[in-house]
Assembly symmetry: C2
Homo-oligomer: 221 residues x 2
């Protein structure tokens, strides 16, 4: 059984993988806030355990076993976040730190029950998909708001950044998942957008913000 430390490495590897599934040791080290030699030695350990594929000076790749293990930890993380928000009244900006700990609990039944009590949710409070029990993740094919054009409507469906700071920014603007944004205009100079939503007539969103808002885009009619 993977230790808590190993589980955190697997998760980081999963999240950092580029489209080809490759991860640099330095990115891994940075993500986990450890030194490169530390990351390096853990990668060797995971290799011995058959969870990653690795050769000296080449990028690391999770094996399919490693990928599944990682996805199942992420499943526990996201179920926990959703449970904390839906069933315990936490804000979406408060749950990540707790889930970071709860994800390591060994109890299939605990997570089964969370899942059941919530009616088998498919996404977490930040819109990220919850892997299924086999560790499979559905791809929602969302677009960044930056891709939307004036005249279109966009439903906020997920976030490319779930940091506390960004979530608090969204709270302050009353932006939540499900919010329908009407794109009023787009500033060619700095890529900022003016949008309207809910009871908010007019709000300017910087490029930085727009990039992090993942949406479903519709033609307004």
């Amino acid at each position: 059984m993977a230790s808590q430390t190993e589980e955190n490495y697997l998760k980081a590897l999963f999240n950092l993988a580029n489209p080809e599934g490759e991860i640099n040791i330095s990115d891994l080290a940075q993500q986990l806030e450890v030194s490169m030699p530390t990351a390096n030695s853990m990668v060797k350990n995971l290799q011995k355990r058959g969870l990653v594929q690795y050769e000296k000076y080449k990028p690391v790749k999770l094996t399919s076993v490693g990928k599944k293990e990682a996805a199942l930890i992420i499943r526990k993380h996201r179920l926990t976040e959703m449970f904390l928000v839906n069933k315990m009244g936490f804000g979406w900006e408060e749950v990540h730190e707790i889930a970071e700990q709860v994800e390591h609990i060994h109890s299939p039944k605990l997570f089964e029950r969370m899942d059941e009590m919530m009616g088998f949710p498919t996404v977490d409070p930040h819109g990220s998909p919850i892997p299924d029990k086999q560790g499979r993740i559905q791809n929602l094919q969302l677009k960044s708001l930056i891709e939307a054009n004036p005249g279109q409507e966009a439903v906020l469906s997920a976030l490319a950044d779930s940091s506390t700071e960004f979530l608090q920014y969204l709270n302050s603007r009353d932006l939540k998942l499900g919010t329908e944004l009407k794109i009023l205009s787009k500033e060619p100079f700095d890529q900022s957008m003016i949008v309207s939503y809910g009871s908010v007539e007019k709000e300017t969103l910087s490029q930085k913000v727009c990039e992090k808002l993942l949406v479903k885009i519709f033609e307004a009619n």
Copy 2:
């Protein structure tokens, strides 16, 4: 901050303490399923950290700081057990193992919310008192069923043993906290008792069982 391992030692020390607050290294080792040298070296470590009082060849004692730390971990354990039973539909025989892990989560808010959602319970699913936020524990002064006499009534209020096996035995006899037992007779030979409760007309409880049932005793009228 105490590590998960240190927390488990503190809890064991708290639970094993005799009326004078003293614990033998050998009992500690046995409880935690480690060797005596291991327990010994952890005791030295806890001493350095000011959590126990200890001198070579003398029994260990928690300091008041150590006692409070221990009680607060037990608080998290018992709140968790109660939450799992009351809010998530677990049986009282399923929750200890999970709580053993959840008790180490660092999140005052998580346990606050559990407490709130349950309306500030004072005992766990096995009738053991939940320490308050200051680490104080109320003493319920319960008696063992063995002390009750024919003609009296007893309300099952806690258990002196919360092992899965015992809890499953109680499940099989439909015995729960709150069950009102009428003592019909007591066998002088083996200390077994014949009782009646709920829809159960007549049930024989061995001495072993009776000793582990903690009750409030009333004169029947």
